[in-house]
């Protein structure tokens, strides 16, 4: 029994890190521009599909494929900003609400586009290490989970370094905290926001690959991942990088441990229930700074 619990904790922490990466990018955009990007996880799923293609066509390992995917998605993020967000910011007064609708539209567009190209069936990534695991003291650590978590950790670390130790990163944080003040300091708002979007979507691509190493996915999976992301961001507080990371671990643990105490089919419900609970009790975030 103890072994089962420890195993669940280990797995939970690993998948929690993966979810955290997905949440961080989402939180970044929400915090800096007030845009709720429903399509964030759709980009992640897209990255998963593209890595699948890379794996089938050229035998590329998904993690290796990231070398190409990350810059590509960075550009996609910037394009998203230029084409949609700027226009929306100019034309609508309630950007938050409007952004929900048009990013929902974008997500639906992407979901069906992916279904059109690759079909709606479930996919799994096959790597050289799928099915392989490290066994320590009776605990199995599947390599796919380990690599996914390492990717997550690395990305969060990089983001932290970027935001706190580089000039452009600090500019992003400045805009995040005080938009007008930042502008007054001469920070080019437009360029910084574009950068933020690029970074966010790029991180989504990493998250997509990390998730796909562990889970099967379909074009419609973005919605399930989004609910998890939302939960993490609510729990961790919008706009807190470390909060998102910590909340990710919590959500991962809940997800994993719930399997032990309830029938498998109800485990998703546990997460949904937690989300609603948190929203009703402390919508500003459990871990608010």
């Amino acid at each position: 029994m103890l072994v089962e619990v420890v195993q669940a904790v280990v797995t939970g922490l690993l998948i929690g890190l993966t979810f955290a990466v997905l949440a961080v990018g989402f939180s970044l955009i929400w915090g800096t521009t007030g845009v709720v990007n429903i399509a964030h996880s759709a980009f992640a799923v897209l990255a998963a599909f593209l890595s699948l293609v890379a794996s089938r066509q050229w035998g590329l390992d998904p993690i290796a494929a990231l070398v190409g995917l990350v810059p590509l998605f960075f550009i996609l993020g910037v394009v998203l900003h230029e084409v949609l967000i700027k226009v929306a910011a100019r034309r609508t007064k309630e950007l938050g609400l409007a952004s929900m609708i048009f990013t929902f539209g974008l997500a639906s567009f992407m979901e069906n586009g992916m279904a059109y190209v690759w079909g709606p069936g479930p996919r799994v990534l096959n790597t050289a290490y799928t099915g392989a695991a490290v066994h320590l003291l009776g605990i199995s650590i599947p390599l796919t989970h380990a690599y996914g978590a390492l990717l997550g950790l690395a990305t969060i670390g990089l983001l932290y370094g970027f935001l706190y130790h580089t000039f452009p990163g600090k500019a992003v944080r400045a805009v995040w905290q005080q938009r007008d003040g930042a502008a007054l300091c001469g920070i080019p708002l437009h360029r910084v926001t574009a950068l933020t979007y690029g970074v966010s979507i790029a991180s989504a691509s990493v998250a997509g690959v990390a998730m796909a190493l562990i889970y099967s996915f379909t074009p419609a999976t973005y919605m399930v991942w989004l609910v998890n992301v939302f939960l993490i961001v609510i729990v961790g507080g919008v706009g807190s990088l470390l909060g998102a990371a910590a909340a990710g671990l919590i959500v991962g643990l809940v997800s994993s441990l719930s399997v032990l105490v309830m029938p498998f089919v109800w485990t998703n419900l546990a997460l949904f229930g937690l989300l609603i609970l948190v929203l009703l009790v402390r919508p500003s975030g459990l871990l608010k700074r």
Binding site: T11, G119, P122, V124, N126, T130, H135, S140, T218, V265
Partner: protein, 402 residues
């Protein structure tokens, strides 16, 4: 010219002209016999496409054969197969479209069971014969007059052969504790239906009985549970995709039960393609098989070798062919496209095709039967009943990678 020679000449000319016109006559005769339209839907894309495509090939090959010989009731057949994208919803409306817009003469069966069950209801409403795999026992208990499982894919009968095989084993050898995971849909639940009783007959305790919704995100938590419970028999009542994930999870977690039962999916070529050696020794059930000694099976195996370079005809290719063949025999037996006459014929005379001889009862079902399969060396072998056994079963399952 003399009178007699002119007569001769005219006669010969007449015959000659007549001969010239003959092909013209037979051409016009064929052109005016409109094709018999057979319509319905299959999952050509989506979650069940792997199987749906093979069923389609079975249907189309049958149509090819029929058109190459005398046709059906002397008329060519035309198949109208819509893609329902593995969604029941669409299966319902597409079948209705085939009936009301395309005005098809006959219906073709859908896949999988959930879609077939829903389509059975539609067919019943329009009073048209519907031959398919059926939607498991529940669907045949609704008093439908026009639906036939010919043969059916009856989840409740699925593991019957495996249970008999277990019973025939030395009790000391049998597994003691079974863990079952079931896809939370009609098929999975139907397959799970006979589980408790079947296991009890061999004194096997069911220590875990979990359901999961499709698509299955990850099989690890479930397999982990089974391993922690020391289950030495694992039953995966799911489909191809989740089955593959489950096997992989078992390997990743180094879980080695003595026996693995798989619901659907271990019989299609893709199983061995995806899993390689890991796909071996998995046991399943079926209602049709390429090694069965019935008339026509070997010819279909031959076709599979020639067209797709496979060793034998895939299971669902055979099913597709079988269902169309049953419909064909019903129509020919009744001598018309009258749906009531066809249904009547199937209940009195039955059919005799690649799935064997079967007569259908009030519910549209033949008497209960099931064949048990095991994947051995990348090949699907029959291990039960004894009189169709093609290979000695491998038990217990060797640990992964050895």
């Amino acid at each position: 010219m003399s009178k007699s020679t002119r007569r001769e000449f005219l006669t010969k000319a007449g015959i000659g002209a007549g001969v010239l016109f003959l092909p013209g006559i037979s051409l016009t005769v064929r052109a005016s016999s409109a094709p018999i339209k057979i319509g319905g839907s299959l999952p050509l894309t989506g979650a069940y496409a792997d199987t749906g495509l093979w069923v389609e090939r079975g249907y189309r090959y049958w149509a090819e054969q029929v058109n190459a010989s005398d046709g059906l009731l002397g008329r060519p057949v035309e198949l109208i197969i819509y893609d329902d994208a593995s969604q029941v919803d669409r299966g319902i409306s597409l079948l209705e479209r085939a009936i009301t817009v395309d005005r098809v003469d006959l219906l073709l069966g859908g896949y999988p069971g959930t879609t077939a069950a829903a389509q059975m209801a539609v067919a019943e409403r329009y009073r048209k014969v519907y031959v398919s795999m059926g939607g498991h026992m529940a669907s045949f208990q609704r008093g439908f007059r026009y639906s036939f499982g010919a043969p059916p894919l009856m989840g409740e009968w699925w593991y019957e052969g495996a249970f008999q095989w277990l019973e025939s084993m030395d009790p000391a050898e049998r597994p003691k504790r079974a863990a079952a995971i079931t896809a939370n849909n009609a098929v999975g639940m139907a397959v799970r239906g006979g589980l408790a009783d079947g296991l009890a007959r061999s004194n096997i305790e069911l220590v875990m009985d979990e359901l999961y919704d499709l698509p299955l995100a990850s099989a690890e938590p479930l397999v982990q549970r089974a391993k922690a419970l020391d289950a030495d028999m694992f039953i995966a009542n799911g489909f191809f995709g989740d089955g593959v994930q489950t096997i992989r999870a078992m390997r990743a977690l180094d879980y080695n039960p003595k026996l693995i039962l798989q619901g659907i999916g271990s019989l299609i070529p893709e199983w061995v393609q995806e899993l390689g050696e890991d796909g071996n020794y998995v046991v399943s059930g079926t209602a049709l098989h390429d090694k069965l000694p019935f008339k026509g099976v070997e010819e279909l195996n031959q076709v599979a070798r020639e067209r797709w370079g496979l060793r034998n005809a895939p299971e669902y290719f055979l099913f597709g062919y079988a269902w169309m063949q049953a419909l064909q025999q019903g129509v020919e037996g009744a001598g018309s496209l009258n749906q009531d006459a066809i249904a009547q014929y199937l209940r009195t005379e039955g059919i005799d095709g690649i799935a064997g001889r079967m007569v259908f009862d009030e519910r549209g079902l033949p008497p209960a039967f099931s064949y048990t399969t095991q994947v051995i060396n990348g090949q699907v072998e029959l291990i039960w009943p004894l009189h169709v056994r093609t290979h000695e079963p491998v038990y217990p399952k060797p640990p992964w990678g050895r």
